[in-house]
Structure formats: structure tokens, C-alpha cells
């Protein structure tokens, strides 16, 4: 059977499953639409959170991101998992106890201020909309790559699918489809990784294989995999996998990702769906279990796939002869067709030499073998995950599973973000500000219409991505770290924090982060409008714009405390509210509301 046909069958089956769940998990009330009726088992919620969290970028690109840079990009692994420790201890249990539906709702009630609530809505919408653009384009690209349709058609299919289950089921439908999507994506990610780890090291667990010796019959048998990889990289002039860069910048970037993770609204609202406060604590742990299954495997996938591709290019090591054009394996030629791999025999010797010119080792190699430049002209980092099943000689259905997994990762994250956006509109804008007398039925309808509107907007932005699409991750994490996280945390941990302080703090975090990003990346990310060139020499204290989140958070905390100490303490009933969110007893009562 042709691979594309097989892909369509497997992807089609997974979609049929999602639609089945959507019909089964229809939402009948706003409590079901916003918070799945607060009846989700903590393990199930952990699984849904993992799918909500892990995007197409985690699934397809992260292994390559780590493999091409090595140790320094461990920041992504630690940053995108360590945030759950903050979430579990500083936010999730108390916000669940509060027992409402949205993040701006907590901010509005805790700070007894519609202004604070609206600032939170603005922050939420900026964060979630920029984040969802990447998911929609990711889904479109995944469709076009696996099913051989064009990107636009792919995007329409993706948004149509999300439309069905998100509009019908709200949080309830999204939760159970996310569980199914998690299962698809983790199986798809793990199977090829296990086989590659077995082939290279004899260890079936990729995370352990990464630190094992190479098995018999492979190049470098008996030496540790990482030593073999580092040696080959050094011979060809590349950075070694295990060496790093400026440790203080690594630490700052890790902190930015961690605080940002804990402040992302679409992740926080997942913890509103569990029945009890103690369940929220457990659920954060389970979420990290399911995330770790992929994150512990990802560096191994990246390192092993990189090693496989280099030994394919240099079957006899860097001292031997490079691979002849006619000896390139079948999978290599298949991926050349897609444009993710490309070769050009620059020196006309019938062989393909992959190395890095302009480095000492690279130039020495070029002089010794008479090379005219790197001949592996295109080497897209996504290939490390996408081509894995073929490199490991796995059957076609595993390749099809990777297709279904990539789509599951993109759709599950997009749906979670869309829910965060639409609930902020229907609950925080329509219900609380524009039309407080709206009926339960009316609000449910408004929620569905907002969801539909959010999907249309996301699709439009996915088709016409603004110039800043590439910057979305830095923007979303930096803003979440600088605006929502500090305000939520102070709302729980400081009884003295008042409306003026919180609002001023949020604005300080939001505006300083935007200003710093715009200074180097252009006003509203329009290319050419940046005031300073985006190079390290121009950074204040050497801090790149992508690393600004923690600075924005510190400004938020500082301004909030200063303003709050100069203005009146919050009223008694607010101080009582803070006390009540701190203790678990009584969370069931909130359920009844």
C-alpha cells in the first residue's frame, strides 16, 4: 500500500475517534463548557494537561532543537517541565479552591476590580492568540506534509475538526479528546525511539540509552554514545553535544520558560476541572509524569537521530570516505523530495561531504579531502523526528502513526488555547461587563459563538501569519511570566495586595516586556521598525529579548508592592476570601455554585 494512503487511513481513524468522543461528551451547561463539570479524574486531567501542553513544536521540533545545539538547549527541557513545580505549589490548588471558571475572573474577584479583570483579559488574549497562530500553522504544515494536500487545505481541515468538538463539547469535549490525542502522540513518539535506542545501544529505554555504550556492530562499539557523537561532531567542525554556552543566560532563559509555563492561562484552567483541591495537587504530578514520558525521550531521539544521520553521511568516520551519491539510503531520497533534506555535490567527486566550513576542524577536513563546501545543503531539524521510523526500518504504519501524532499534538494544544480565549470573551467580557443579566442558556450559546469566532480568527491568522509568527514562543512565555503569574501568586500569598497595586504591577510587567521585545524585534514585530539592532552588544546587561520574562516579573512584583503599600489595604471580605482559598476545606461548596 502507498504510504500516503496508509497515512490517510491512520489519521482518518484517529479523527473518527475524536468525533466520536465529541458526540459523547457534549456540554449541557456552562459549568461543563468551561470546566467539564469539575468531574475529571486527576490522572485523566493529567493526561489531558500533557496533551494541552505539548504542541506540534514539542512533538516535531524539540528533539531537533536540542540535537543541533546540544547541552545549551537543555533549557527547553528543564524550563517546560520545571514550571509544573511552581504550578503545583504556588497556583493550582488555591485557584481550584476559588472555584470559578477563568483566570481573569480570579483576578477580578480577588482584586475587587473590573479594571484588573480587563487588564488580565487583554494579557490572556495577547498570550493565547499569539500562541494559537503557531499551532494553526503547525497543523496546516503537518497535514500538507503527511497527506499531500496544500497547507491551506490542511489548515481548513484542522480548524474544521477543532470546530466540531470544541464548539459541541467545550472543556468537556476538549478534555476527553485530549486524552485520546495524548495516547496517539505518545505511542507515535515512543515506538521509533525505542527501536533506535535498541539498535544503537541495546537499551530499550531511550533516556537510559543516551548514557549507554554503543552496541556491537555499530561504529564506535563499546564507547559511550555521547563520546562517539561528540567525537564525530568535533571532527566535522560542529559544536560538541555536551558542551555549553553562558551559564547565566541559560539559567535566566530556563527561569523565563518556567515562570511563563506556570502563568499560561490555557494550562491553569485545566486544573479547574478536577473535583477537589487535593486532586489539583495530584493532577499536576500526573501531568508531569505524562509530559516527562516525552521530554525524557526527546534528547535521546535528537542525539541518536543526529548520530544516525552523521554515520550515514560518513560510514567510515571523518577520516574515511564520505557516502557516495548512489549509496544514499532510500529514506534519505524520500525526504529529499519534501525539501527537508538536500544535497549538492559541490566538488564533483560523486560523494556527499557533510561538515561545517569556517571552523578549524572543518577547514582542516576540507583541505585534506579537497572539499568545496558543505554538501548536505539542507538539513531541517524536524527531520530528526519525522524520519525516525524509516531510519529504524520500521513498517509503514509507524510512519503513519507519526503523522497522526503530530496532528494530535497540534490540535490538542490549539483546542485548549481556543477555550481559554473564548471563555475569557463569553465569561469575562459578556457575562461580567456587557450583559450581567444573561441567562445560563444565553451564556452557553455565547460561549459556543465565541469559540466559533476564536476558531475563525485563529484560522485567518494561520493563513495570513503576521510578521511576528516566528517570535510567538518568546512573546507568549515572556508575557505570561511578566503579567499573569506574579499577579496570581500575590493574590494568594499576600493578603495586603490591593487593586491599585495589582493593576499597576500587571501593566508594568506587560508594558515593560512588550517594550523590550519591540525595541529589538520591531514595533508590533513589524520588521525594520526596531529601534536597536537585535545583537548582544545592544542588550541591556546582555539580556536578550527572549530572556526578559523574569525581569518583567520582578518589575511586576516591585511596582505592585510599592503602589500597594502607598494605598489602602483591601477590604475585610477580600482578606477573608484570600484566607478561604488557602485552605482546602469547602471546595465542594464551590462545586454546587
Amino acid at each position: 500500500m502507498e504510504q500516503t494512503t496508509l497515512n490517510i487511513i491512520v489519521v482518518g481513524l484517529s479523527f473518527a475517534l475524536y468525533f466520536g468522543i465529541a458526540i459523547w461528551a457534549r456540554a449541557g451547561s456552562t459549568a461543563e463548557f468551561y470546566a467539564a463539570g469539575r468531574g475529571v479524574n486527576p490522572v485523566i486531567n493529567g493526561m489531558a494537561t500533557a496533551a494541552d501542553w505539548m504542541s506540534a513544536a514539542s512533538f516535531i521540533s524539540m528533539a531537533g532543537l536540542i540535537a543541533f545545539v546540544g547541552y545549551s538547549n537543555s533549557t527547553f527541557l528543564m524550563g517546560w517541565t520545571g514550571g509544573y513545580v511552581l504550578m503545583a505549589m504556588l497556583l493550582a490548588p488555591y485557584l481550584r479552591k476559588f472555584g470559578k471558571f477563568t483566570v481573569p475572573e480570579f483576578i477580578g474577584d480577588r482584586y475587587y476590580s473590573t479594571t484588573a479583570r480587563l487588564v488580565a483579559v487583554v494579557a490572556l488574549i495577547i498570550i493565547s492568540v499569539t500562541y494559537v497562530i503557531g499551532q494553526m500553522t503547525g497543523a496546516g504544515v503537518a497535514f500538507s506534509r503527511f497527506l499531500e494536500v496544500d497547507v491551506t487545505t490542511g489548515l481548513y481541515i484542522a480548524s474544521g475538526t477543532v470546530f466540531v468538538y470544541a464548539v459541541l463539547g467545550g472543556m468537556k469535549g476538549i478534555t476527553y479528546t485530549q486524552v485520546a490525542q495524548y495516547c496517539v502522540l505518545i505511542v507515535a513518539y515512543t515506538i521509533p525511539a525505542v527501536f533506535i535506542s535498541l539498535q544503537l545501544t541495546g537499551n530499550p529505554i531511550p533516556g537510559l540509552g543516551l548514557f549507554s555504550n554503543m552496541s556491537e556492530g555499530t561504529a564506535g562499539a563499546g564507547t559511550p554514545l555521547l563520546v562517539t557523537l561528540d567525537g564525530l561532531l568535533a571532527d566535522l567542525g560542529f559544536n560538541q553535544y555536551t558542551t555549553g554556552s553562558n551559564p547565566w543566560l541559560m539559567a535566566l532563559f530556563t527561569l523565563s520558560l518556567m515562570i511563563g509555563t506556570a502563568g499560561l492561562p490555557h494550562v491553569i484552567i485545566r486544573f479547574f476541572t478536577v473535583p477537589k483541591v487535593s486532586d489539583a495537587r495530584w493532577s499536576a504530578g500526573w501531568a508531569l509524569v505524562f509530559i516527562a514520558l516525552l521530554y525524557l525521550t526527546a534528547p535521546a531521539v535528537g542525539a541518536m537521530a543526529r548520530l544516525n544521520i552523521m554515520t550515514t553521511m560518513w560510514p567510515n568516520g571523518a577520516e574515511g570516505e564520505a557516502v557516495a551519491v548512489e549509496d544514499l539510503p532510500d529514506w534519505f531520497n524520500t525526504w529529499q523530495v519534501t525539501g527537508l533534506l538536500g544535497v549538492e555535490d559541490l566538488n564533483g567527486d560523486g560523494r556527499i561531504q557533510y561538515y561545517r566550513p569556517g571552523t578549524e576542524a572543518g577547514d582542516a577536513l576540507a583541505a585534506a579531502q579537497n572539499l568545496q563546501g558543505n554538501e548536505l545543503t539542507t538539513f531541517n531539524q524536524d527531520i530528526l523526528v519525522l524520519a525516525n521510523p524509516e531510519i529504524a526500518n520500521l513498517p509503514g504504519w509507524v510512519i503513519a502513526l507519526i503523522a497522526a501524532g503530530g496532528l494530535a499534538a497540534a490540535l490538542s494544544t490549539a483546542a485548549g488555547l481556543l477555550l481559554a480565549i473564548s471563555s475569557a470573551i463569553s465569561h469575562d467580557l459578556i457575562k461580567s461587563v456587557l450583559n450581567p443579566n444573561i441567562s445560563e442558556k444565553g451564556e452557553l450559546l455565547a460561549a459556543r459563538i465565541s469559540m466559533g469566532g476564536a476558531i475563525v480568527l485563529a484560522t485567518y491568522l494561520g493563513l495570513n501569519p503576521p510578521g511576528f509568527a516566528a517570535q510567538t514562543v518568546a512573546l507568549a512565555f515572556g508575557l505570561a511570566a511578566a503579567s499573569l503569574f506574579p499577579t496570581l501568586m500575590m493574590g494568594i500569598f499576600s493578603k495586603r495586595m490591593n487593586a491599585a497595586g495589582a493593576t499597576a504591577g500587571m501593566l508594568a510587567g506587560l508594558l515593560s516586556t512588550c517594550l523590550y521585545l519591540f525595541t529589538y524585534l520591531g514595533w508590533f514585530f513589524i520588521p525594520g521598525t526596531n529601534m536597536l539592532e537585535n545583537i548582544p552588544a545592544n542588550y541591556i546587561f546582555g539580556i536578550p529579548p527572549t530572556h526578559f520574562g523574569p525581569i518583567g516579573a520582578v518589575l511586576n512584583f516591585g511596582v505592585a508592592y510599592a503602589v500597594s503599600s502607598m494605598t489602602a489595604a483591601p477590604p475585610k471580605h477580600i482578606q477573608d476570601l484570600v484566607e478561604s482559598v488557602r485552605i482546602p476545606r469547602g471546595a465542594g461548596a464551590a462545586l454546587a455554585k
Binding site: 547541552y71 513545580v85 503545583a88 548514557f211 554514545l225 483541591v277 482546602p584 465542594g588
Partner: protein, 84 residues
């Protein structure tokens, strides 16, 4: 505000502080800033700091969250603020 809930909140904050010290030590410490000090300890062809950066810190985060959940459930009961 009762004495009891005050003490409960103080106990919670102490536990969080302990957990976050370990959280920071393993990720920002062992995996990044203190890595040169740990370079003598070899793990699978590289050093302990590298292992913490790509595997160890994630495992420590997992243990911390479950430890916190278990300890807090006990503290909830001790202070009589658990959910019935």
C-alpha cells in the same frame, strides 16, 4: 483569622520553601551554574551536570510534586482543613 489557619499556612509555606530550594538546586544549580564543580563525576560518557540538565532535573521535579501532594494531604488532616 484563627491561630490554627495561621499555623497551617506557615507549615505550607515552609514545605514549599524546602521543595523550591531542591527545585532550584537541581536545575539552576547542578544542571547549569554548578556544573563545572560536578565535572569530576562521570556519567555515561559525560558528567553529572549534563545528566541533570537532560534527565535528572525532570525526575527530581516529578518526585517533588508528588512529595508535596503527599505531605500536604497529611498537613491538611493534621490541621483539620482537609476536604470531607
Amino acid at each position: 483569622m484563627s491561630e490554627k489557619t495561621n499555623e497551617y499556612w506557615a507549615a505550607n509555606k515552609r514545605l514549599i520553601a524546602v521543595c523550591l530550594v531542591i527545585w532550584a538546586l537541581c536545575s539552576y544549580g547542578f544542571a547549569i551554574l554548578l556544573r563545572p564543580m560536578l565535572s569530576g563525576i562521570a556519567v555515561g560518557g559525560t558528567d553529572l551536570g549534563f545528566w541533570f540538565a537532560q534527565q535528572g532535573s525532570i525526575l527530581v521535579f516529578l518526585v517533588l510534586i508528588f512529595f508535596y501532594a503527599i505531605r500536604m494531604n497529611a498537613i491538611d488532616k493534621k490541621f483539620g482543613v482537609d476536604e470531607e
